[in-house]
């Protein structure tokens, strides 16, 4: 089955095992899709933070809604202005 992330990963000459932690895709600054998160830590209108393997991600913006949340995926909707990985 076609997988968008696998398709991108196949184009680079890197060890695929190193690329399996998480996937994040930002669509036009309006949607942020995350695969491989390990739990949400903060949710406000201006900021969402979640854990990933070996770190944390902080997303900042305005009017952020957690549109969909499952055990390892999440979809954020809103005006996304900044994303930092720690």
């Amino acid at each position: 089955m076609f997988n968008f992330f696998d398709e991108i990963k196949s184009k680079v000459n890197l060890d695929h095992n190193l690329l399996n932690d998480y996937n994040i895709i930002n669509i036009s600054g309006k949607l942020l899709y995350v695969e491989g998160h390990q739990g949400v830590t903060i949710i406000t209108k201006e900021m969402v933070a979640f854990k990933i393997k070996k770190g944390r991600v902080v997303v900042e913006g305005q009017d952020i809604i957690l549109n969909e949340l499952t055990e390892n995926t999440l979809l954020l909707q809103g005006k996304i202005t900044k994303m930092e990985i720690f």
């Binding site: 949400v40 903060i42 406000t44 809604i65 957690l66 549109n67 949340l69 499952t70 055990e71």
Partner: protein, 373 residues
């Protein structure tokens, strides 16, 4: 509408932790943080109860649980016993009243007769319950009680009792309203072909307009009269007389050919435009015409046209002998106007009378025509 989801409003601290626990088994949608300790989110309808219990076990206060979606609406409707009971009552009432005839319709009769038949049916219906109405009996009853009914069919359509009748057409003999044949012309009877009735004239008789030709009865050997419709073919020579008068010296008023036209454009009764041309003629005829300029009622513009024809009087001296044929033909044409289809011209002649420059042409047309009924 078709997404069966439940919205939960939750109050409590550290909601992220609970959310992570819930998301392990249940998909969470549209999570919004309203305040520091207040948020709302959606889950699938089927997981709503378990999520609610889970949150309460974790010490959260579930302020609101609202369901939406087709499944929930259907389920909710099925639990609305009042509505269901109402629908059942309505259905039962409908089924019950459907067994009754509520209206009587009569087709094929005149207005007065319709009401009479309706009243008769209402009085004679054994019941308004459909199964107790015998349409055959009703047909018989109506036919026996109303002479003007020739054939009838009664049917129950929906909740209407439909009575379709054909009216009896009585022959003229039974109606008893007969008129004699009366002459419409002055003439000489030449041929009679009596079909029925009693003759009042013979061949060779001269009749005047309004004379009775055939009476509408017959007399039997006992001397009794029986009314019949008078029918006969009666041919007669009828005279049509027309005159034309000619004066050798006369004064005529004729148009010179000069005209003056005045136009007025009006909106309703209000004059919008007018050309004020002076009428310089001393003697004239006037003709008025009005024409609608628009075909709508919003702006009803009309054009009123007045035409002034200049006329003059002149003395005419015309010898009769010069125009004799023309005058005779004019008199003949006037007589021919009265000729009808199937009339046969038997003879044409004219007489001339002259007195002091005044000539009268008297044209006589003798025709043969059927003056009987």
């Amino acid at each position: 509408m078709f997404k069966n989801r439940s919205k939960l409003k939750v109050k409590g601290l550290n909601q992220e932790r609970a959310l992570n626990e819930i998301s392990k088994n249940v998909k969470v949608y549209n999570y919004r943080r309203q305040e520091q300790n207040l948020s709302e989110f959606e889950v699938d309808f089927k997981h709503a109860k378990s999520v609610e219990v889970h949150l309460e076990n974790k010490g959260f206060e579930v302020l609101m649980v609202a369901h939406r979606g087709l499944f929930y609406s259907t389920k909710n409707l099925l639990k609305s016993y009042g509505i269901i009971a109402g629908l059942i009552i309505v259905l039962a009432f409908y089924l019950l009243q459907y067994n009754f005839v509520l209206k009587v319709e009569v087709w094929g009769a005149e207005n007065g007769q319709i009401e009479t038949i309706k009243d008769f049916v209402e009085e004679n219906l054994p019941s308004h319950f459909k199964s107790k109405i015998s349409t055959e009996d009703l047909e018989l009853d109506i036919r026996n009680n109303f002479d003007f009914v020739s054939s009838i069919s009664v049917a129950i359509i929906g909740q209407s009792l439909v009575i379709n009748i054909n009216q009896a057409v009585l022959p003229n003999e039974m109606e008893g309203d007969f008129q004699p044949i009366v002459s419409s012309y002055d003439g000489l009877i030449t041929k009679i072909n009596l079909v029925q009735g009693t003759l009042n004239v013979n061949e060779g008789d001269i009749v005047r307009k309004g004379d009775v030709l055939v009476y509408p009865y017959t007399t039997d050997s006992d001397g009794e009269r029986h009314a019949v419709e008078a029918k006969a073919e009666i041919l007669a020579n009828v005279w049509i007389n027309e005159t034309v008068t000619h004066y050798d010296y006369r004064i005529e008023r004729v148009r010179t050919g000069k005209t003056i036209i005045k136009n007025q454009v009006c909106l309703g009764g209000l004059v919008i435009y007018e050309n004020k041309t002076e009428v310089e003629f001393t003697d004239y005829d006037v003709e008025n015409t009005a024409r609608e300029l628009t075909k709508n009622l919003i702006l009803p513009f009309t054009l009123n046209r007045t035409i002034y024809y200049e006329v003059e009087t002149k003395e005419v001296t015309e010898n009769f002998e010069d125009v004799k044929d023309e005058i005779i033909e004019k008199a003949r044409a006037k007589a021919l106007i009265f000729l009808e289809e199937n009339d046969i011209i038997i003879e044409e002649n004219y007489t001339l009378n002259e007195a002091g420059g005044c000539h009268v042409v008297n044209f006589l047309l003798t025709i043969s025509k059927n003056i009987g009924g």
